[in-house]
């Protein structure tokens, strides 16, 4: 027995080493590509960043001036998106995981449609949002239309993450609460959902990141206008559209495109960093892993 293992071990170890090297090289290449993009962006765009760039309005189609109104529009679009999507997602997730029976057909069907919906390209969401929110509901090209469209787009992801974090709450806590005479609705409201909040927050941040990076869906719904929005029914240009527009449609807009790109990527990095941090601290605190479909 002992000779067998000692004979088998080295070759196994060797093969492992070879695989490990391949994996490390792969990981290294990915890291290098990411760093290259990041450094390139920072090298060209960092010089643009200043207080006036962040706060001032764009001039000369964005070649000069800043991104103030665009940041405001982006923020408003994201707020509309989350204000609609998060409560809806929590409601649907509670319904799916707590109220429907475990092996229900309806649940399977909803889950499959959610997965299908998550795989739909964003341009389709854009067209849908344009047809439904802009035209059908008469909201026109507006921040509201854009936010609602993004809400539809991130909803599948949010429902999935929320559902899995609700499901990750161990059954014994529900039983304990029930045995203490808590009614079912109270168990859900006071215990299960609060315990799932970390997962919901992480899912929300992921959705936020995706919404922020979205361009195409917004071209069709929130529009191009780069003025400071006066209300949610005004058209507003998001950061990602601004970058796209400056880079593709405005000759001489490159420098400011990089500047806006730096702001965008900085926001995304902050969001992702927050996700990692929160997931880690919450796991340490509650002993429950946060399961988020990344």
């Amino acid at each position: 027995m002992s000779t067998l293992t000692s004979a088998a071990n080295p070759s196994r170890g060797l093969r492992w080493d070879a695989w490990a090297i391949v994996l490390w090289i792969g990981a290294g290449l990915i890291m290098a590509a990411f760093l290259w993009v990041l450094l390139d962006l920072l090298g060209r765009g960092l010089g643009q960043i200043s207080w006036s760039f962040i706060t001032e309005a764009p001039e000369n189609a964005g070649r000069a001036g800043g991104i103030g109104p665009i940041l405001v529009s982006t923020l408003l679009i994201l707020m509309v998106c989350l204000a609609i999507a998060v409560p809806l997602a929590v409601g649907v997730a509670v319904f799916l995981s707590e109220l429907l029976p475990h092996r229900s057909r309806l649940r399977r069907i909803v889950q499959i449609s959610l997965d299908a919906l998550a795989a739909v390209p964003s341009v389709v969401f854009g067209l849908f949002g344009n047809a439904f929110f802009c035209i059908q509901l008469g909201l026109g090209f507006s921040i509201l239309s854009g936010g609602l469209t993004l809400a539809c787009m991130v909803l599948p992801l949010l429902i999935r993450t929320t559902e899995s974090s609700i499901r990750a709450v161990p059954q014994r806590y529900r039983l304990a609460a029930t045995a203490l005479g808590m009614t079912r609705s109270r168990v859900i409201l006071r215990l299960v959902v609060p315990l799932a909040v970390p997962g919901i927050v992480v899912g929300t941040l992921l959705a936020l990141g995706r919404a922020m990076a979205e361009t195409v869906a917004l071209v069709f719904t929130s529009g191009y206008v780069d003025r400071m929005p006066g209300s949610l029914l005004d058209s507003g240009r998001s950061l990602s559209i601004h970058v796209f527009d400056l880079a593709m449609n405005v000759p001489g807009g490159d420098a400011n495109a990089y500047g806006a790109g730096v702001v965008l990527i900085f926001a995304l990095l902050v969001i992702n960093g927050a996700v990692l941090c929160l997931a880690k601290t919450w796991k340490a605190r509650s002993g429950m892993a946060i399961t988020a479909a990344t």
């Binding site: 039983l175 609460a177 203490l180 005479g181 315990l195």
Partner: protein
């Protein structure tokens, strides 16, 4: 065991139960022990999970303010019995309960007591300690608020008094806002008992409360049970026969017959342990002792 003789058996058993104190029969006034009251009268209780029959026509009376130890091999339906007594069975998918359980002469299976009220009156302690993964204080707030106690002072007071009753106050009073699952297993189990007591129940059901604990912690829980047995009706499931001896005033032995859980023998602890009537009981007790 046929349910008919149980009433008489227990009554007889009661006299048998005083066998140990028979040398000093006059010290205790007869009136003190006289009104033998039952908290639960279970008759013809059958519990099934689909095909599996966990309990088959069980009839048993459980005395008020005493400790009934429920013993028997694994899978004979002890946990199922406890879950019937506070109707937690409603929550187990596929679980089907029939028969009658009277509590304070109200039919609890027939729904004569509201189920949340029932569960407030009958606390359940699980095998694995399960405080909510929240702060210690929140573990009390949550159920108390559910039952209409909102006043901060009052919650604080109830929390302190139950934690004192479970001997936990000194250990946790400086960390009430810390997560409950950072406590040791034994402390967690006593916290769960305190949490159940905070609702001022009449009875406590304990499902192998010590089996996940080290000897010292389980000793503490045992002492706690002994200190509570004057005021609460306690039903405790245990695989530990010496624990059943130490804690039980009454004992019920269940067995798996033809794949169905059945009650073999029940009565005062001294009678069941010293003079078991059923051969199975003799064998089980002897086998476990050996």
């Amino acid at each position: 065991m046929p349910g008919k003789d149980l009433e008489s058996e227990i009554r007889h058993g009661h006299h048998g139960g005083n066998v140990m104190t028979v040398a000093q029969p006059c010290i205790e006034p007869a009136a003190h022990r006289e009104p033998e009251r039952h908290l639960w009268c279970i008759s013809d209780l059958t519990v099934s999970y689909g095909e599996v029959i966990a309990l088959s026509s069980v009839s048993l009376n459980i005395k008020e303010n005493s400790v009934t130890a429920v013993i028997g091999p694994s899978g004979c339906g002890k946990s199922s019995l406890l879950c019937c007594l506070n109707r937690l069975t409603d929550f187990i998918p596929g679980c089907c309960v029939s028969g009658r359980i009277l509590m304070h002469s109200k039919d609890i299976l027939g729904g004569q007591i509201d189920d949340t009220r029932l569960r407030k009156q009958v606390g359940l302690i699980f095998q694995k300690p399960n405080p909510f993964p929240l702060s210690i204080r929140r573990n009390f707030e949550l159920p108390l608020r559910e039952h209409g106690i909102r006043d901060r002072q009052e919650i604080e007071h109830i929390m302190q008094s139950t934690l004192e009753a479970t001997g936990l106050w000194k250990e946790v009073k400086d960390r009430l806002n810390k997560p409950a699952h950072q406590l040791s297993g034994g402390q967690q189990q006593r916290l769960c008992i305190a949490r159940a007591l905070s609702l001022r129940p009449d009875a406590l059901l304990m499902d192998e409360p010590c089996s996940a604990l080290d000897p010292i912690s389980s000793g503490q829980v045992e002492e706690l049970v002994l200190s509570l047995r004057e005021r609460y009706t306690i039903v405790i499931v245990t695989h530990n026969l010496s624990q059943a001896r130490r804690l039980g005033t009454d004992v019920a032995l269940f067995w798996l017959r033809d794949g169905k859980g059945t009650l073999v023998e029940s009565g005062p602890a001294s009678q069941v342990f010293e003079a078991p009537r059923d051969d199975l009981t003799k064998l089980y007790l002897r086998g476990a002792i050996a």
